[in-house]
Each structure stands twice: as structure tokens, then as C-alpha cells.
């Protein structure tokens, strides 16, 4: 390998690569690489190893480097295809994952039309255009693809509804709002392979007869928006926006920071320039959507699957997955684990395999995993043999959601976790339904009381009582699912709630109001770092912490070279 010449160098400069410092690496490489082209690429999904650099050799092989620093040594190592910091996909992960939808992510320059086409891009569209629109829909039905936005509605059927409509104009909308705070599958796909999402949309437009195509993308994703805009300009340039003689208009609209706008009817209202409040269905958007026109909404990842289905055929696609859930699913792994990042796996894989084998989490330290974000529930480690598919997760009181998967360690408090989610949902409720607006606020206040050590046993009953009522009395999915994080934690971790409200104790030592700080004099070397750095002067000159002054900011824990300061149960000082 050492005699082979470097053909090209690629640096992962998706959002998270940049956050890890990839830009400086790229600048330095460009300066030092002479005639070798240095390109940006999207995301390989191995966030834990960012910044990453791939060296492509003229013999067709490639070497990937991890944790690359922006310094001389690292650059020299790369340019000489040296042995330091080489990256290998962990073998267990390699054995379990199945990379299909993300195959091009981190492998092409996302701003290059040619790169996409050279890697099979727009072959799916070509195939679709050679079929009748009804045949395309049949192919999607055959694939068994279900919506990746969380609801899991069969995609082919939805397409069929829109195709059957007669109207002056039909609307297609790509839901790129990615509202689950802790999920980034859609961001990575749009940043890394924007044409793939757009190809899916073009195929859908052909199959359904839609002519106005919207992408509703959250404003927090500037790079995704930029890459999509570049890709759209290229589509116009290559006239790919003309399908079956119809000219399509593709429009990007930026969201404005409201979680509820991920819900389809709210999203449509927002696209109309109004407040993003959901409305009652029926009429469904496919009957009456944007400005009254029949409209269809699919998620980013759903569209991302479409070119594959057309390329390999629906039957082939359906070979992967389980009876009711076909294909692969992308998950965004984060939280308490060793290898956070993106992973694409076949449906039906177990949580155990994802969290432990792929994510490298320590089985001794994991308490639960949260799927589906604020709409989902936690699943305790005891149930990790559950296969990941739409129906199995639902049975556990959780949901598949859009793919956010947060691993929760044993040192996290579940009452606080539930409080966090209700804080989110009660603020994001659009306020239309009383049960959602007032109910979630009531739940939030109760949980807030509990973590502050001011709860009572009756609070648990109150929460259990409110949950089903909020579910029943809410119009949209936000309210209907808002109690899930509370009810799921109550179901599996009731003892933690009881400890908070009855004994005013937080076993995880996370809830500040239920924790004291303790300075262990026997370990202390009297360096006074803690005293000097405490922002509120809570540590006395004779090394005692005044817990009535201390704000639990953890500065002293951080500073102490001897780990002499610890969090302890309140009152045990």
C-alpha cells in the first residue's frame, strides 16, 4: 500500500465534524497537500472518531484516519499514509450494521452533482420514469416501506391517496423539521447526500402528479439548507425538474423553532405563513392540504429510501427487516455510551445489539434507553432483547420515533429525565387543546416539585391520573404522546419517584435540591483551588462547604486534584 500514490483526500465536514474541529484540519491539509485535491465530504456517522480524514489511493484502496488534529505531525502522517490514528470500524459494529440509505454519506462530495451521479445517483429516477406512475406506487407498496417520521404509515398507500386525487395542483412536502431534541439522522442525510432526498421527492412527484415541492427544514440546520439549495440549483440546471412533461417547482422553507410544526397539519399552516397550530383530521392533507390543495408529507429518511427501492426493486428491499417493518433504520445514538453517532441497522435487530455491540455502552452502567424523544418512552435494560420494529416498541410503551436513541446511564435520575421532557412539551404545546396545554403544565409543575424535594405521595397518583386524560383530550400527536415519558418511567422506575416524594432522596445524586457537597478532609491537600474558584464563596478557609450557600455548580469537584469533594445525599454531611 505504501507505494500507492494519493489520489484524493476527503475531510468529513458535516456539522459535527466541524464542531470537532475539521475545518482547521482541512485548511492545513489544503496548504500542505500540494497538487493532491482535498475535498469536503459529509458524515460517516462515527462521531466519536471525528475529525475524520479519508485518503484515497490510486490503487483503489483507501485509508481512514480518526481524531485528526490540525497540526504538522498529523498532517505529515496522513500525507505519507502513515500508520498513526488509522480508523477501523469496530468489528462488532461492522457485523451488525447494514449501511444502505447512508451508503453515500461521507463517501461523496455533497455539493457535487457529478459525484452523486457517478455513484448510482438518479438511476432510481431513470427507472421510475420508464415505468407508469401506478407501477412506481406498486413498487413502493411492495417494498413495505413505512414512514420514518415516527408514525410508521405505509408510504405506498399514502402515495396512492395523492395519486388518486384530481386537482389543478398537487403538493409534495418533505418534513425536515427533525424536532426530536437528540436526533440528527435527517440532518446528516441532507448534509451528506442532499440529492438522494431530492431524487426521492422527484420520484414521488412523478408517481403522484405533484408539481409543487416543499422542503420544510429547521433553521438550526444551516448546512443542510445550504447543501439542499446547491443541489436544487443543479437539478434545475440539468432539467431533472421536468418529469413526464410537467415542470416541478422546488422550494425550501425554513422552520422558525416550533416543535409542533413537525406535525403535518401544523407544518402546512406554517408553510402558509400562519401560526403552526395543528387542526383536526379529516380532512387529511391528501384531501385538503397546503392552500386547500391535495398535499402529501413524507419524512427526509422516507424519501431517502425511495431511490434504493426503485434501483433494487421493492421485492429485494423487502428482504431486509421483519414481517411488519421492512428495510433498514437509521438511529442517532447519543448519551452514555462509548461510540455515539449514526448507525444504520436492519429492522428487527435488538436494542441490546444496538446499544452494547454497536454503541459500545458498558452493560454494567446502563439503566435504560429513550427512543422517540419527548413522544417516546424509556425502555429498561432488562427488556433490551426486544427487537426494534414499529410494533414491538409500541407494546413496551415506547415508540420507534424518528430514530433518536439516548442511552441513559445508571447515574441518571429518571424523575429528572421525565421532568426534562415535560418541560419541553409543556413549552412546545401550541395551546389549542386544554388538556395538552394545562395538563402538561400540571405534570411539569408536579415533577418540578418532586425533584425539588417538595413532592408528596399523592403526586404519583396525580401523574398517573393525568396521563390518560391528556392522551384522550389532545388533538395532535404532541399532546397524545406527551405523557409517555412520565408514564413509562413510572411503570419501570416507580421506586425512584417514591424515593423523591416520600424520602426526599435522589439515589442518582442528580437532583441538586436533594444533594449536598462534601469535602473529605482526609483526602484534601489544602491547595485551596476549590476555595479560590467557588463563585459564591461557599467554602470556608478551614475547608468546610456551606451547603446553604453552595449552588451545586460543581466547579470545585472539577478543580480538585484529589477528588476530595463529592456529591452526597442531602443531610448525610
Amino acid at each position: 500500500m505504501s507505494d500507492a500514490k494519493i489520489k484524493k483526500i476527503r475531510v468529513g465536514v458535516a456539522s459535527c465534524g466541524i464542531a470537532a474541529g475539521a475545518e482547521a484540519v482541512m485548511d492545513l491539509l489544503k496548504k500542505e497537500a500540494g497538487a493532491i485535491p482535498v475535498e469536503g465530504t459529509g458524515c460517516l456517522g462515527h462521531c466519536y472518531a471525528e475529525p475524520m480524514v479519508e485518503v484515497l489511493l490510486d490503487n483503489g484502496e483507501s485509508v481512514i484516519y480518526r481524531d485528526v488534529k490540525a497540526d504538522e505531525k498529523a498532517v505529515r502522517n496522513i500525507l505519507s499514509v502513515g500508520p498513526e490514528n488509522r480508523f477501523e470500524i469496530p468489528p462488532v459494529r461492522k457485523a451488525k450494521e447494514l449501511v444502505k440509505v447512508l451508503a453515500l454519506a461521507g463517501r461523496i462530495d455533497p455539493t457535487s452533482f457529478e459525484d452523486y451521479v457517478a455513484n448510482g445517483g438518479y438511476k432510481g429516477l431513470e427507472k421510475a420514469l420508464a415505468m407508469t406512475s401506478a407501477e412506481v406506487i406498486d413498487e413502493v407498496k411492495l417494498s413495505g416501506l413505512r414512514g420514518r417520521g415516527g408514525g410508521g404509515f405505509p408510504t405506498g398507500n399514502k402515495w396512492g391517496f395523492l395519486a388518486a386525487k384530481q386537482a389543478d395542483e398537487k403538493i409534495l412536502i418533505c418534513n425536515a423539521d427533525e424536532g426530536d431534541p437528540g436526533a440528527f439522522m435527517d440532518r446528516a442525510l441532507m448534509e451528506s447526500a442532499p440529492h438522494q432526498v431530492l431524487e426521492g421527492m422527484l420520484i414521488a412527484a412523478y408517481a403522484t402528479g405533484a408539481t409543487k415541492l416543499f422542503i420544510y427544514c429547521r433553521a438550526e440546520y444551516p448546512m443542510a439548507i445550504k447543501h439542499l439549495k446547491i443541489a436544487i440549483a443543479q437539478i434545475y440546471e440539468h432539467k431533472l425538474n421536468v418529469v413526464a412533461g410537467r415542470e416541478l417547482e422546488i422550494i425550501i422553507k425554513e422552520g422558525a423553532g416550533a416543535f409542533v410544526c413537525g406535525e403535518e397539519t401544523a407544518l402546512i399552516a406554517s408553510l402558509e405563513g400562519q401560526r403552526g397550530t395543528p387542526r383536526f383530521r379529516p380532512p387529511f392533507p391528501t384531501d385538503k392540504g397546503w392552500m386547500g390543495y391535495p398535499s402529501m408529507i413524507n419524512n427526509v429518511e422516507t424519501f431517502g429510501n425511495i431511490p434504493l427501492i426503485l434501483r433494487e426493486g421493492g421485492a429485494e428491499f423487502a428482504k431486509v427487516g421483519t414481517e411488519g417493518s421492512k428495510g433498514t433504520k437509521i438511529f442517532a445514538l447519543a448519551g452514555d455510551l462509548k461510540y455515539p453517532g449514526l448507525v444504520e441497522v436492519p429492522m428487527g435487530i435488538t436494542l441490546r445489539e444496538i446499544v452494547f455491540d454497536i454503541g459500545g455502552a458498558d452493560p454494567e452502567k446502563v439503566k435504560a434507553v429513550q427512543t422517540g424523544g419527548p413522544s417516546g418512552g424509556c425502555i429498561p435494560v432488562e427488556l433490551f432483547d426486544t427487537p426494534v420494529d414499529y410494533d414491538s416498541l409500541k407494546k413496551l410503551g415506547a415508540i420507534m420515533g424518528s430514530g433518536g436513541m439516548i442511552v441513559i446511564g445508571k447515574d441518571r435520575c429518571m424523575v429528572e429525565t421525565a421532568r426534562y421532557f415535560l418541560d419541553f412539551t409543556h413549552r412546545e404545546s401550541c395551546g389549542k387543546c386544554t388538556f395538552c396545554r394545562v395538563g402538561t403544565t400540571r405534570m411539569y409543575e408536579t415533577l418540578e416539585r418532586n425533584v425539588a424535594g417538595k413532592g408528596e405521595m399523592s403526586d404519583i397518583e396525580l401523574l398517573e391520573n393525568l396521563g390518560p386524560k391528556i392522551r384522550m383530550g389532545s388533538l395532535c400527536g404532541l399532546g397524545q404522546t406527551a405523557p409517555n415519558p412520565v408514564l413509562a418511567t413510572l411503570r419501570y422506575y416507580r421506586h425512584e419517584y417514591e424515593a423523591h416524594v416520600r424520602d426526599h432522596q435522589c439515589e442518582a445524586l442528580q437532583c441538586n435540591a436533594l444533594v449536598d457537597l462534601k469535602l473529605d478532609q482526609s483526602k484534601c491537600v489544602k491547595c485551596k483551588l476549590c476555595i479560590k474558584n467557588c463563585p459564591v464563596g461557599a467554602i470556608s478557609d478551614d475547608f468546610v462547604i456551606d451547603n446553604t450557600k453552595c449552588t451545586r455548580c460543581n466547579t470545585c469537584l472539577d478543580m480538585c486534584p484529589k477528588k476530595a469533594i463529592r456529591r452526597v445525599k442531602k443531610g448525610s454531611n
Binding site: 425554513e254 423553532g257 433518536g404 441518571r412
Partner: protein
């Protein structure tokens, strides 16, 4: 329409572009002022109260002028689990402002946001859109110092 808001012409005049218009204004001025609301109302032919009604719905729109450096501390799920409340506390203490506030010099403003999409590098914050990852107390303070000097 006043010269000042001539850039609105780039946004189509259909009422469905109202949010886009507001975004354009905030993009240029950093916030949505009373004056700009009047201009928008006039441009789209939508009453001022309706413009206010729409903009107040969306968290993105600011009605007060933000600082030169806009700090957004992520409090999405991954960041929360990884200790974002502490990051908020450190930043807040270092700058003397809390969530939603701007300091007196107009140098910094602080807000918490739900997820910047870099969850695997949690906890994160951004300063004028540039994301800083894997924050601990030292790096957070160091970053703030850098911007303070600017």
C-alpha cells in the same frame, strides 16, 4: 416602503411568505423591531396584530436586539443528559446574564435551544452559529474569554 426594508422585495409578496419575510428582517437586523413589523405589515398587506400573532408563536423570532455574540447553549436530550444545565450555569455566571438576556454592553446574549444536531458530541453550545463540542467547565470559560476579547 422605506429604503431600509427594500430587501423585502426579494421575498415573494404572497402572504404565505410572511415567515420568510420575518426571517429576512431578523437576518439583517438581528431581531424584529416595531418599525420592521410596520414595514412587513405594509409589504404583505397583513394587519400588524396578525404579524405579531404569527411571530410570537415561533421561538426563533426575537423582539429585542441581541448581543454581538449570540450564545446558544443546547439543552436537547443528549446534551441535558450530559450536563447542559451545568453549562448554562457556567455561562450565565461568567457573563452575568440568564437565558434570553443580553449584557449591558450588547456584547453577549444568551439563550437555550433544543438540539443543534451534534448530539453525539454533547454537551454543545454555539456562538453565532459556530458549534463548540464536548464542553467542560474549562473549555467553556476559555471560549467565552476568547469572545470577550474580540
Amino acid at each position: 416602503m422605506t429604503e431600509k426594508y427594500a430587501f423585502l422585495e426579494k421575498v415573494g409578496r404572497e402572504p404565505s411568505n410572511l415567515i420568510k419575510g420575518l426571517q429576512a428582517v431578523q437576518g439583517v437586523e438581528g431581531y424584529v423591531s416595531d418599525e420592521s413589523i410596520r414595514a412587513i405589515s405594509e409589504y404583505f398587506g397583513i394587519p400588524e396584530v396578525e404579524v405579531e400573532g404569527v411571530l410570537s408563536f415561533y421561538a426563533q423570532f426575537k423582539r429585542v436586539k441581541p448581543g454581538k455574540y449570540k450564545i446558544a447553549v443546547c439543552d436537547g436530550t443528549a446534551c441535558h443528559i450530559k450536563g447542559s444545565p451545568l453549562v448554562q450555569e457556567w455561562v450565565s455566571r461568567a457573563l452575568g446574564i440568564s437565558d434570553g438576556e443580553t449584557d449591558e454592553k450588547g456584547h453577549f446574549s444568551l439563550e437555550t435551544v433544543a438540539c443543534l444536531g451534534c448530539c453525539s458530541l454533547a454537551p454543545v453550545m454555539s456562538v453565532n452559529g459556530r458549534v463548540y463540542a464536548k464542553l467542560d467547565r474549562k473549555t467553556t470559560i476559555k471560549i467565552l474569554k476568547e469572545y470577550e476579547a474580540k
